[in-house]
Structure formats: C-alpha cells, structure tokens
C-alpha cells in the first residue's frame, strides 16, 4: 500500500487490514442477527402450527357453545366468560391500588430507606412464582378470609399477582411527564395533589391505560394462581349467556380449560385443545397489540 496511490478525493485506503476488519464485522453482525431471528422463528412457526391444527374447530360456534360429552365436544363459552369475570374483578382491585402506589412512588416518595424497601418489595412481588401466589391465595383468601373456592378468591389472588405490572408501567408513564410541568404548576400555588390531578394525570393517562391493558393480558393468561382458588375443570352454565356466574361461584377459565383438555381428559378431538390455545393466545396477543398500538399512537402525538 503506497500513499502515493491515493486518488484525489478518495480519503481512505481499503487496506487488507481494513478489509479483514470489515469482514469480521459483517460476520459478527450476521451471527447476532441469526440469534435474534432464532428467537423470532419459534413464535411465528408455533402460531402458524397452532392455527393450522386448530382450524377444524375454530368457528363462532366453538366460542359461544358449552362443552359437551365431558369436554370432548362443544365449545368454550363458560371458560371464556369465566376468564372475563376474573380479569374484570382483578382489574377493579389492582388498578386503583397500583395506580395510587405508582403515584406515591413517583410523586411523593423521597429517596430514603423506606421507599427503597417499597421498590424492593415491588420487584420481589413481581418475582414471586405464580404457584406461590396460588398457595397464598389458598391460605389467605380461601381459608383465612373464608371466601371459599370462588371467583372472588381467584380474582383477588390474580390482582395481587398483577399489581407490579400496573405499578411499573404507571410509574414509567408518570415519570415521562417533564418536571417543568409540575414546577410551573407549583409556582402558581397549586398543592401537590392539585398538580397531580390537573397536570400529571391528564398528561400520562394513556400511558397508565397501557399498563392497565397489560395487566389484563397477564391476568387472562395465568393458570397456576387460579387453579386452587376458584377455577374448576367444569361448571355448567347456560349457552351464550354473559352473566352466568355469581361472585362466590367457582368458574371455568380459558387458561385452566386449556390445561384440562390437554392433560386431564382422554380422547379429546385433537383440534379442541388447539382451538382453545388459539383463542387464549389470540385474546392475549390482541390485548397486547392494542397496548402497543396505543403507545405508538401516543408517542407520535406527544408535543414535548
């Protein structure tokens, strides 16, 4: 490589060394890329396979019909409404507590040992295994609070389990409101709560909503916590009726139903568990996609 050989206007010489570096870099890029793709392929392949296997049973009738002949035929209506009940009730409990807790952590808490302890508790609450939540629900709600095996016990267990989801995402939404907004509000004499109500919450409500939606997705998919607190293998309800359960009833749930038909019931028509899985997966992914959509829309609309 001779310096004299550089053409005018050309700044760099692509020496052998540089070429090797570039080659290495592109190889590295491809290796990391293929690792990423290896993570995505299973998702796509699995969803496609599930859909393909579920196709024979996947129709409107399957959704609104009740299970027949020991769950070997018919639909999933009681499970679907059961999941709806569990999600709505657990949401009604965990959303207010979660949002208020996030407001405390983001707007009121100072950086002292107590609040570090709260943070640690939130992290730990998110890490407690779902089956331990089930044990807790059984010990606390079913026996100690004497709520029995019921929708209420199961929902409360789910509510506590999903609390960290709401706290984390609400906090993020609150933290994204610039500090200057609050300072301006304080300067005109507003109290802390007035500031939160009129400035912080309106500016973060969509972010909070996203967190609530994510809670729904999490609550709809969980199985272990409701298994021993209120969800049962089978419960007869009227076909197509929406409000078929009472609060102290036991109920079926989609996630539990998938576990039941795929492991506990012999000789099920093959497409039924697959169709159940598709409905469950579809519900959860749909909820998540709407949360993502909301977030993207929000980000594009943001003025600051």
């Amino acid at each position: 490589m001779t310096v004299a050989a550089i053409e005018p206007g050309k700044r760099f010489v692509r020496t052998r060394h540089v070429a090797r570096k570039e080659r290495q870099q592109s190889v590295a890029k491809w290796i990391f890329f293929s690792m990423t793709v290896a993570m995505i392929i299973p998702l796509v392949a699995i969803v496609a396979y599930l859909l393909w296997k579920a196709a024979p049973s996947l129709n409107w009738q399957f959704l609104v019909d009740v299970p027949k002949r020991g769950m070997r035929e018919g639909g999933i209506w009681p499970a679907f409404t059961g999941t709806l009940y569990l999600v709505v009730i657990s949401l009604a409990v965990s959303a207010p507590i979660g949002v208020l807790a996030a407001i405390y952590l983001n707007e009121y808490a100072k950086d002292n040992w107590l609040n570090r302890l709260i943070n640690l508790a939130v992290i730990n609450l998110a890490g407690v295994p779902s089956i331990v939540h089930a044990l807790f629900g059984l010990g606390a709600f079913v026996y100690a609070a004497k709520l029995g095996y019921s929708i209420l016990s199961a929902s409360l267990t789910l509510a506590i389990m999903t609390l960290p989801v709401i706290i984390a995402s609400t906090r993020e939404a609150l933290a994204s409101v610039p500090m200057s907004f609050r300072e301006a509000c304080w300067n005109v004499g507003a109290t802390r709560w007035q500031t939160i109500r009129s400035i912080v919450l309106p500016n973060s409500i969509s972010g909070i909503l996203t967190g609530v939606i994510l809670q729904v997705s999490r609550a709809a998919g969980e199985t272990a916590p409701i298994m021993f607190t209120g969800a049962v293998f089978f419960k007869a309800v009227e076909k197509g009726k929406l409000f078929s359960y009472g609060l102290d009833d036991q109920c079926m749930a989609l996630s539990m139903h998938l576990y039941t038909v795929s492991t506990q019931v012999p000789n099920v028509k093959e497409s039924i568990p697959f169709a159940t899985a598709v409905v469950l997966l579809g519900t959860v992914l749909l909820v998540n996609v709407s949360a993502i959509g909301l977030r993207v829309w929000l980000r594009n609309r943001k003025k600051w």
Binding site: A28, M35, L135, Y143, E222, L281
Partner: protein
C-alpha cells in the same frame, strides 16, 4: 386593602375557593396514596406470612425431619406405610431444567440484546422490540401446551426418546420463555453504556466486535448479570409450562431425555389431592416457602446488580 394592624397581631387569611372539606378530602386522598404505596411491602409480607402459616405446624411435627426434607430423594407423600417427604429430587429437577434453559437462553438472549442495541437500525429495533414484547406475553399454559404437543413430538422424532415430555423439552420451553426478559433487560443495560465509550473505542480503530467485547460487555456487566438472574428467576418460578412439558417422574435425571419434576410443578400437581391440614398439604406449603426464599434471593441479587450499575 385592609390597613396593617398596628399591634403585632396576626391577620388570618383564607385562600379563596379552598373549602375546609376540600382540604380534608385532599388529606384523605394523600393518606390513601401513601397506604397504596406501602401496600407492596404489606403484600410481600402477607404472602410469606400466609404461606408460612399453613406450613408451620409440620415443622413441629415429631416425624418431620428438616434434613430429610431438604436432602432426601425419597418423595412418597401418599404411601401407605412409608411416607417420605424428601424434596432433593424436586430441587434437583428445578435446578436441572433451569440450568438447561439458561445454557440455551443466555447466549441467544444476550446475542439478540447485542444485535438490537448495537447493530439494528431504528425501524428494525422498534419491530424487534415489539416482537419480544409479544413473545413475553404468551401465557405459560400455552407454552406448556406447545411443549406437550409440538416439542414432544419433535423430540421423539429427532432423538428416538421413548417419551417426549422430559428435561430437554422443559429446558427448551423455559429457554424460549426467559429469552424475552433477558433480551429486554440486557438491551437496557447496553443502552445505559454512554455513547462516549463507543466513540472512544471506535476512534482507537477497534472493530465493532472488539468494541463489544472489550468495552461494552465489561461496562454493562452488572446489568447483563441482572438480566440473566431475572431470567433464572422466571425459569425457577415457572409452573404451568414445566408441569406440562417435563413429564412426571420424581427422580434424579441421568440425562436430558429423562423425565423430571420441579418444585413448582410438584405443588401444582399434588395440592389438589392433598387434604387441607394434612402433613402432605403442609409439606407442599413448605416447598412454597422454599421457592419464595429462592426467588427472593435471586431477585435481590439482580436488584443489587442493577443498583450497582446505576451508581456508576
């Protein structure tokens, strides 16, 4: 304007529009907010308290032996004559499945995190992050179902194992489940490394690969450790997927194609049969306490790793 009082008497003013009731309401609300803030601590303590309360009586049982509980592989909870509550095989099952899952998930997870953080363009990054979020949203029972149907068939076809639900199956499923969390936390950790580090490395003529290996990975070490630990936490605590995908054999596995049972799956499988208040029921709660402690330690370590990162 009122005249300034001559003596040092204080003038009481009232803010316009702030009725005492409103002020009182605001106080009450702030107390409520504070209480909600403390609720997380309360719930964690409550979980420990109620699970431990159901388990505690067995600890004072004359026949209960803590050493046997932790280190014996004999788990015969429903035997007529020889009732044994040794959880070693279950603990080993949990450790084995988690270890196998991590062997798969850590390289792929960190590789993907590096790709997303360092190589991908803006648009691509956004799409990949959404995919990871969706991957993380798949319910564990669906993963279990996939293990039971798709993966087990694949394993039988490819390896000729007699049953497809085994350690390998559970490991792969758990790996797929914990990759999203490793990727997203790992990517956060890499993002936290200041760009000036990258620029300095590039200015010295380092290739991207050298920069990643010599600069990024050491700088983001704590965050990446936390990512792996949170993945471990997820894998250890996972219930439904391992219940459905690992088979049901309470024994020390000899190879990846043996069936195992984990601590979590064991509770899920047997709690329904154990009569409330029976020793079997209490021992199951005791394994719950054990799980709580294990995940607590793992999460605490991860948190300390992240905190160490922030302080820097």
């Amino acid at each position: 304007m009122t005249a300034i009082p001559a003596s040092g008497e204080r003038v009481r003013t009232r803010l316009p529009g702030r009725k005492p009731l409103v002020i009182l309401g605001e106080r009450a609300l702030e107390i409520l907010i504070r209480l909600s803030g403390f609720s997380a601590i309360f719930f964690v303590l409550a979980i420990f308290f109620f699970v431990f309360r159901e388990a505690a009586p067995v600890l004072f049982d004359a026949e209960f032996d803590a050493k046997e509980f932790l280190f014996s592989t004999e788990w015969y909870p429903t035997s007529e004559r020889n009732v044994r509550y040794g959880t070693w095989a279950l603990t080993f099952g949990s450790v084995a499945v988690t270890a196998l899952a991590m062997v798969i998930a850590v390289p792929f997870g960190l590789g993907a995190a590096i790709y997303i953080s360092e190589f991908s363009g803006k648009k691509q990054k956004e799409i990949l992050k959404i995919v990871i979020e969706l991957l993380a949203a798949i319910p564990s029972v669906v993963w279990g179902f996939i293990g039971l149907t798709v993966m087990s068939k694949l394993i039988v076809d490819l390896t000729g194992a007699p049953v497809g639900v085994n350690l390998l199956n559970g490991g792969i499923i758990l790996a797929l489940m914990s990759i999203p969390i490793i990727v997203s936390i790992g990517e956060d950790a890499l993002k936290a490394v200041p760009d000036s580090f990258r620029e300095a490395a590039e200015a010295l003529g380092a290739t991207k690969l050298q920069m990643i290996r010599r600069v990024l990975l050491p700088a983001a070490r704590n965050g990446l450790l936390a990512a792996v630990l949170l993945g471990v936490g997820r894998a250890v605590g996972e219930t439904m997927a391992v219940l459905m995908a690992t088979g049901h054999a309470v024994r020390i596995p000899h190879g990846p194609l043996d069936s195992v049972r984990t601590l979590t799956a064991n509770i899920a499988a047997e709690l329904g049969e154990a009569a409330a208040g029976s020793p079997h029921y209490r021992v199951l709660f005791l394994t719950g306490v054990l799980l709580f402690v294990i995940t607590f330690v793992v999460n605490l370590t991860a948190d300390m790793a992240i905190r160490g990162l922030r302080r820097k």
